[in-house]
């Protein structure tokens, strides 16, 4: 008798999703799916709008990572204008993008995932949230709040508001950095570095507690993809889009963003609104690849900043160059927080950072533009076409989380097969199914996200609809 378990309302992720687990007649897991149940439609309703509105509109895709969409959209518009933005604007955009990565990673690690790591996958669900963290690990939780605040404050200083700033525009940014704001940010760097270092120390005390999860959390060979600098350093704003194999050996480099369709295909599955991108030369679904912090530190030779490189050295000594378990996204995320803080400091110390020439102006010079940047969750692509009046006629977006869709689905199946007993449901086993998704830190919507424990009902029914077991969280 076949059965299906449905986890409706996956918790501690950005957005709304559902997981279904199918059981065979013997109660063994036979298949599993991660369903994204939201529909956005931005690609359609931007049609007819002027290209100058695109960064502002596209940022509304997300309230968690609007800066990422600002970056990719502005780069696509730069391409349409056929301009090189001023060097200072390039640095300022990078600072905002890194601030976004720091704050987003802090939210993911401290608020959403660390409750599992510090209280255990089978810990009391009532404590597995930020309030539980504060009660039992106050300094750790405080560091998480303040690291997120560090990133958000930088975004607000540059763009006047922390959510949906309008500062990144086609051709550059709309205002230079002031000396006062630069100094305010620089003054916070030492404390932010200390907080990131403490988080890593804490992580090292718990990371070895979860060998079974390391073994089963989306642990399989795939390609990895992400931006990389010409020198082989980790990159979040520009550079080539590189695909590497499971041994970190380069498979392909995309240096012309316009050619991305030759490398990335987009499949659609009936069970989800989230598209399933794949590496086109290998076909679907064999072209499965992963993006995000783990992918970025696997494909880069090094970070290029001292503290992050030291931590990357520990990571590689411990796990090798190309660990395949998605459990290691957590560690990679912390390395990127460290890198982001160091790189913000470096960028702010450039002598031209206060230069007032921060925008190149031009009329549209192309009908097609592509912008690629790295969002906290991975590679983000905006592709626009405009008409002779500079109005949008077509758009295609490949969202960072979508790039991981195939891996998340396969990961859910792997965890379910390892931990879910179809004859009797326990909260901890289903929490692991959710926790593998949290490793990828998916962002499924704009400004909604779940923090802590949400009402959750998992029903186990047989093929005739008969209720066999229920697990209820209130």
């Amino acid at each position: 008798m076949n059965k299906t378990i449905t986890i409706e309302g996956v918790t501690r992720i950005e957005g709304h999703a559902r997981i279904t687990i199918e059981l065979d007649e013997s109660g063994k897991v036979s298949d599993a799916h991660f369903h994204v149940t939201q529909f956005r439609g931005f690609e359609k309703f931007v049609q007819g709008r002027p290209l100058t509105e695109m960064p502002g509109i596209m940022a509304r895709i997300c309230g968690i990572c609007p800066v990422s969409h600002l970056m990719a959209s502005a780069k696509a518009c730069d391409d349409l204008l056929a301009v090189d933005i001023p060097p200072t604007a390039n640095k300022l955009r990078r600072i905002m993008n890194l601030a976004q990565i720091v704050q987003s990673h802090a939210l993911s690690f401290f608020h959403l995932s660390s409750p599992d790591l510090l209280f255990g996958m089978d810990g009391d669900p009532a404590s597995r949230n930020i309030f539980g963290l504060i009660r039992d690990h106050p300094e750790f939780a405080r560091d998480g709040i303040l690291l997120r605040k560090f990133g958000q404050d930088i975004i607000a200083l540059l763009g006047e508001k922390k959510i949906h700033p309008a500062w990144v525009v086609p051709g550059g940014v709309n205002a230079p950095l002031t000396a006062q704001h630069r100094d305010l940010i620089l003054a916070e760097i030492p404390a932010a570095l200390s907080r990131a270092a403490r988080a890593l120390e804490y992580f090292h005390t718990v990371r070895d507690r979860y060998p079974a999860e390391v073994d089963a959390f989306a642990n399989f060979p795939t390609l990895f993809a992400g931006l990389i600098s010409p020198a082989g350093l980790i990159e979040h704003y520009d550079g080539a889009l590189r695909f590497v194999d499971e041994n970190a050996a380069p498979v392909a480099d995309l240096t012309d963003p316009h050619q991305y369709p030759s490398m990335i295909g987009e499949a659609v599955e009936k069970h989800s609104y989230l598209k399933s991108p794949y590496f086109r030369p290998r076909g679907y679904p064999e072209g499965i690849y992963r993006v995000g912090p783990l992918a970025r530190i696997i494909l880069a030779e090094r970070c290029g900043t001292p503290r992050a490189d030291a931590e990357l050295g520990i990571f590689r000594t411990r796990l090798g160059r190309s660990p395949q378990s998605s459990f290691h996204y957590h560690w990679a995320r912390l390395i990127e927080i460290l890198y982001g803080i160091e790189m913000i400091q470096r960028l702010l110390e450039y002598p031209d950072i206060l230069n007032t020439h921060v925008r190149s102006r031009a009329r549209p010079n192309r009908f097609e533009g592509v912008g690629i940047s790295e969002a906290p969750r991975g590679t983000l692509i905006h592709h626009y076409r405009i008409d002779e009046n500079a109005r949008m006629v077509w758009a295609n977006l490949i969202i960072a989380t979508g790039n991981n869709n195939l891996a998340m689905n396969r990961g859910v199946l792997q965890v379910a097969q390892r931990f879910v007993d179809g004859t009797h449901l326990e909260e901890g086993m289903l929490n692991r199914v959710e926790a593998v998704i949290r490793c990828f830190d998916p962002c499924l919507s704009c400004s909604t996200h779940a923090l802590g424990q949400m009402p959750l009902c998992i029903e186990l029914r047989n093929s005739t609809g008969e209720l066999c077991d229920v697990l209820q969280r209130d």
Binding site: N129, R142, L146, R148, D153, A187, T448, M454
Partner: protein, 179 residues
Amino acid sequence: MFCNATDPEQAAINTLLIGYGNALRSDDGVGPTVVELIRQSLGPAFAASVACRTELQLTPELAPWIASARRVIFVDASVAVPAGRVTIRRIAAQPTAACLGHQFSPPQILELARLAFGCVPQAWIVAVGVQSLAVGQGLTPAVEDTARRLAGHLRYHLLPIDKPSFHWTSRNTRLINEG
């Protein structure tokens, strides 16, 4: 912009005003509008003692700001209050329920400030009844009028800046509601 709530000596903000809501949903933006009106009316003498913040929603990183203040006033839109009317009530930190949504309520963010930074200020929530939450910028006339009166009253009661607590009586509320 940055504040350090881990150092009690720096808890120098006398009054923190937080207006929150979505300014792209008509009257839902009344909280940010009120606080912005107050911000514009404050002279440099108040800069060190009154902090004005406009937010889409209450997020964890507000906790250090709240812990740094002696009193905090939340200004929010409400569908439970008649359109254009105002209610003001004192609130306290609330130990969180097991279920957390995607944003914090004022009592929850106060609790976060208390747990994480060991301080919780006196707090009030000012709720303004809304007429329309439709997509669009700008307040409806009735709510805009209320916003201006409310901003004036709050501004008046922020004086003097060293006043230790925020005194609000039912008469104040009546004055706003009766124009």
